[in-house]
Symmetry: D2
């Protein structure tokens, strides 16, 4: 029964939560909404979860504190300065014992105003911090965004500077870093692929921490550009007021093609989870395609909360995975899935459509040819400006549904992104909205570079 | 620790094997090659596997008797009349005790000459047979094929008649039926979807058992048409001489696109396991497409044993599944798989190809249009004659690689089958052999019927 | 996606429930209270649970119909003649389709008045019954008890005769038997170790079905002796009125020896789940010992519903198993467990006690010696009368707590049963109630027979 | 597909091994013998194991390098200075790339002469060491033993000083520490319960690293006392010459009491794995008791390699766990286990014995009483001298089999240790060798302190 720290990663969101235990007790930091995972670990280790810490009011997922507290009797704690409808506030230097371990609160504002970090010490081996849970203040290779208070940009960037340089780094090089996100999160662009680090390693190599001069740091942060998916507003509200209880995960029912048809008529959205290639090969007209592993990153831009979802999976095993991804973002109306997948649809005789794949070489030829077409690049602005093809039209994927009016429907469109994966989502959106000639550049910019297309910068 | 019978189904082949235990012992009937499953069950139940029975020399998979015997010390038994290089022969009425259970041997030739059935009785409840393991003599809804002795067709069909009517059915209506195959096997066309039955139920409802007159039965059997995949010859040899030991399953290594390219240059075959839609959307030129769940049924027609296989999976989880399917059929040279799947290939800038899907309505229009094209129907002869589209060209999928010369390469081809799934394999074969215009009728005959295409019989 | 019948066995109670599916649907027969197992199977098979059948109002466990219905939307069905507070009644010959399968209702009273059986046919293969779910009317090797209506003994035994001989057996020898209990249940003494059978096999070999003459059958049944654990009354009430919802399984918290002490002071019962040998070696004074695998059979005799339970496990893995056993019998107040088990107790310096094991040879010597002692045999009356040691005192284990006053506290006691396992429970009861000299005959009657003790019959 | 480091802990031995991966490759550090765990992780992550590092020639377990290399094609590496019969030597500063990660070799002798450490850097984030694999040079809270070269004690202690202070600590406070053992290992007495640390934390708080003066460090190390289990010699030989291949884990067969008896007659040792309390309650005469979780620590002192082992488990699930523990220490002759455990033995009528538990209070009374008895304390010398009961006789458990002659067989013996667990092993040894009156102080020193027994120091 030794001390343990277990990291629980929610794939896609790249959200990292932690359970820390010693003796008979454990605490959880930033639990996710499908929270049975913490209860199972606690059972396995023979500990009782007594405290739940929220390092900050999250905007990118529904936090599971309320459900976990309801099921374990643990007390929820968060920082001061936000009017939470649940839990208790903690102040600088409040300390919590977990067996021989101790967690001490640091107020580390910047990403949000009430953000806290938790400093871990081991009473059996001295007072030097063993580790620190930094929430969204400090990541491996990056620091937290500071764009959530548009009117107070310089102020909050300055707060983050102070948190990093005056509170966190002084804990010492030896402290192991446990942040709230890993690579792939929408909460930071430049996180490292490596998920293990220390304050000492970050102090030397985290690019943002090299900006040791306060004003330069602030200048850098206020000039960063981040996108804000529409669902952030919903998450902020849920995480301030407490999410509705989720006793258990929804179990979407299997549906025949006829039942799927009826559901769509009744207002459901058909959500295709298959791979870009499979969507390219055949898809159901009217469906929105978001390949399963892209769901955490893009559902929040593209889905609303006021209709039912019917899934089109590659395999039935994808359904419970999609359910987890969706409920973590507050989407609970997942009523069913197409049993037998596209094959069932095809043999029913119903119409299907396809999206031709365009290789980089073909694209290159067309760019030098005479036929007019729209090359729609849906990457982020920063990616676009770092390198693009001639004559590309840029609309970020997250904005595409709102900006369709800017496109000429009479022209053929080839969708384009970094690798062709976001492009298939874009192609599916165009198809849903009546564009007739839509193709997807599978391979996109990555392939263009390999075959030597000419790239424009800026 | 009660008596147990556990059925182990090998998906795809629809091969059913059994482990039967009581007290401290167990026996296995018709083990598959990846035989750790029986050892795990034996461990869980606290029994030792003492005997292995082969109901017949199998032609559709490599039997796992030798490996299982090597690992457990069990004795292998098979019927008399074939010159096996391993194991011991058993004769009519030989009996084997397993705790309170008893297995008695019946010689039930017909499917093969040395076929046996095993009658199960429970000494604690009387001598009436509780159940019978019938091998390939009797299935739920069908009986075994009798086409393996072309010179002695009537003779072996008569032997099967005698086995069924004079040996098996007399065991009584109450006997539970445990056959060696379930629905989906290449060893019988008409098996029921239901996998639980009794001799009494079969006596009344099995269509073939309604032919109670011996000559009529024989006439029926000799007029059946079955296909014989090329790999049957290999299986027959391995199962007579004893398969080479397979200590553990091959572990294909992850390969970059460059490494895949090199492997192909060195003679490897690229085997695409993805769904028909994904293959349609984008595939690697030169690869052979057999969607994973069709591998057990079609690998044996289309793959050789003298080259390495490199897999193109939809997800890495497909790789170990494919490995099991392949080694069960004796394919052991599985050297690697494309890591990252088609996406990795696409972003590498390498060429890919696609196969357009043709809907039943479009096909119908083309059939009534002016443009010449080959509608290539690759179903079995019996399916083709039961109902086909006008002007369809028929080559059974299993024969297609040998009969490509019969097709006009200058004409566009639309491949066609029952649902579009075999058609994608056919399309991939044509593409591999240089046909340029190849499309696949996803939905195929099933969709044609639903949309009202005109169907020709005979 | 073939038809499936999956048997779910709840160990200890030997309760058998079933999920039967085809196409998109499934039904469940006699679900247990921890009902997520059915939902998981339904998800795996891609079916929706539409109907739940209760073959009878159960008296030995809390049925899970209400929870399962709440989570799936399925409709609950039971027989007519009892005033259920939930669900819908079904009448003779009501039929329910599940894909190609059909379930037809037979009213088969006897065990209870509203008992039903369900006849399974497969529309794709004719009308002969494939199988029958017989509830507690017919088991493998036995038939249902008829002792629940003491005033109408002959009447209900006659009803069962009619159900068996006039309704069930006429379904035909070929029908596979799916009863509601297997060997080890309190619902029948003589069930076979074999759990697979057919009506034909039972017709010939089930000992009770050999009593084909109605009056002889009735005579036999009214002379049977069954024990009725106290908790049966509670189960009957819950299963008529509908059990309270159980959203999820209780999660007992780990407790220190000090916390366990406090809980006991506050009225909790300490329940020791360890093996008879471990209890013999050292146990906590005041605890009640019921080895884990005996919990389903004896908790209902010995535990009340109006106090908390604190568990003493051998390993923490036993805790969730015990929780399942207990909630199935309606015990939900399981507040904690001794973390670290007896070892934690021992190193805390707290008192422990032991129960010496007495070998058959030693017992034999003592029986022929001069020292007076009570040999307390706690087996069932039928076992006792079939063979006992000289001078044994008989009190059935289930009655022991109520009949302690009959024993002489001044004499040493050796507890005794079939093998020594029930004897350890008895010894623990005596110790709890202040008996000072208590030993347990590990091996008991089984060992006595092997070493040649003299056995008295009658 | 991010970078990963996964720690694999072998319970009992507290042996820590690691698999480190990035891109398409992975390396393994100090693999255990049952090495399928690394292959499974590699499959899951889509990487190929290319290198295996042995930080030192291990003496406490059979290293799995040869088996893992045989199954993966990876190359084995170890330090220079020992005449290994397999693998390749690596020299200071040799470097190995794993995707973007780099492992650099440091020669860090002291524990053994050829010991190496591996410094991990991440090329994508600068040259500062991210982490270091220290083998048995540096642990969390302790450093490696230096007692394996009795003639060169001061020299090797000095080598370790140089390795720690001149090579490892200079890597920087920020480096995460990955040692080869965690708490509970026989390779260091004072390891922390915490298994995560950094060089910076150890520099400040590791007690041994506070001895910064070279001579003082050497003095401290040469005065340490460690025990050397007999099996160390066997491990050293196997790990120098290469262990025999272990294709798969042994599968002990279930045995009846009669078969167990026969095996013992044929020379097998009966090894009882149950809990101290269960052993106390009833055990088979002649068996050696080592509770399962103590097997890794004590098997090597007490078992020989030249006889078969037959196991007496509490539950059959213990058998495969015991098999893993045993083969890791080179014990491969595990022929069977008693099916049904002690219960099966008891009902067979065979003799059993028991070992009474003696509470601290009782012991205290006896110590002050008149009856002569031997209080046999089997703890380590260092524990004994730190605090013992009056008149205790000390023989370390690991030496007990050899030193039985020192004990007076005519006197009753109470075995004693820290908690009563080692005492049960000692009691079982005495019983095996004919001591008649043997009791075990369950609770032992821990309980004595709690109840206020008087403790003697020194």
């Amino acid at each position: 029964m030794s001390m343990f720290i277990e990291k629980i990663k929610s794939e896609g969101l790249a959200h990292l939560s932690y359970i820390v235990g010693d003796g008979d007790e454990a605490v959880v930091v930033d639990p996710r909404r499908d929270c049975e995972v913490y209860i199972k670990i606690a059972q396995r280790e023979g500990v009782r979860i007594t405290h739940i810490f929220e390092t900050h009011r999250n905007e990118d997922y529904v936090i599971g504190s309320c459900d976990l507290a309801r099921r374990t009797g643990a007390v929820i704690h968060h920082g001061v300065g936000l009017d939470f409808a649940y839990g208790e506030s903690v102040a600088e230097d409040d300390a919590f014992a977990v067996g021989d371990l101790r967690l001490r609160v640091l107020h580390t504002p910047g990403h949000t105003l009430e953000s806290i970090s938790l400093v871990l010490t081991d009473r059996s081996s001295g007072e030097t911090p063993v580790a620190v849970f930094t929430g969204d203040a400090l990541f491996v290779g990056d620091v937290g965004r500071t764009d959530f208070y548009p009117d107070r940009k310089r102020e909050v960037a300055g707060l983050l500077y102070d948190s990093l340089f005056n509170k966190l780094l002084p804990l010492g090089d030896q402290a192991i870093l446990y942040p709230a996100h890993g690579a792939g999160s929408v909460c930071g662009d430049s996180m490292a692929a490596r998920e293990f680090s220390t304050l000492g390693h970050e102090r030397r190599h985290n690019p943002v921490l090299q900006k040791t001069e306060r004003e330069a740091f602030i200048d850098y942060k206020v000039n960063e550009h981040h996108t804000q998916p529409a669902y952030f507003r919903k998450m902020e509200a849920l995480n301030k007021d407490g999410a509705p209880p989720l006793d258990r995960l929804p179990v979407p029912v299997p549906m025949t093609p006829a039942a799927v048809n009826q559901a769509v008529k009744d207002g459901a959205l058909l959500l295709d989870l298959r791979s870009p290639e499979a969507i390219a090969g055949a898809f159901i007209p009217g469906s929105l395609a978001i390949p399963l592993d892209m769901l955490p990153a893009y559902a929040g831009y593209l889905l609303e909360y006021d209709y039912d979802l019917v899934l089109v999976p590659e395999e039935p095993e994808q359904v419970p995975v999609a359910v987890r991804y969706l409920i973590r973002m507050g989407y609970e109306r997942i009523s069913g899935y197409l049993k037998g997948g596209m094959h069932a649809w095809e043999v029913s005789g119903r119409e299907y459509d396809r999206i031709n794949a365009v290789h980089a070489n073909t694209l290159n030829e067309r760019l030098h040819g005479d036929t007019a077409f729209t090359l729609l690049d849906v990457r982020k602005a920063s990616e676009f400006s770092a390198g693009r093809l001639h004559n590309a039209t840029h609309i970020f994927l997250g904005d595409l549904q709102e900006r369709l009016g800017e496109l000429d429907r009479r022209q053929p469109v080839v969708t384009f992104c970094g690798s062709g994966r976001r492009a298939i989502i874009a192609a599916s959106i165009l198809k849903r909205h009546g564009f007739e000639s839509v193709e997807d550049a599978l391979g996109s910019m990555a392939a263009c570079k390999r075959v030597g297309c000419s790239i424009v910068e800026g």
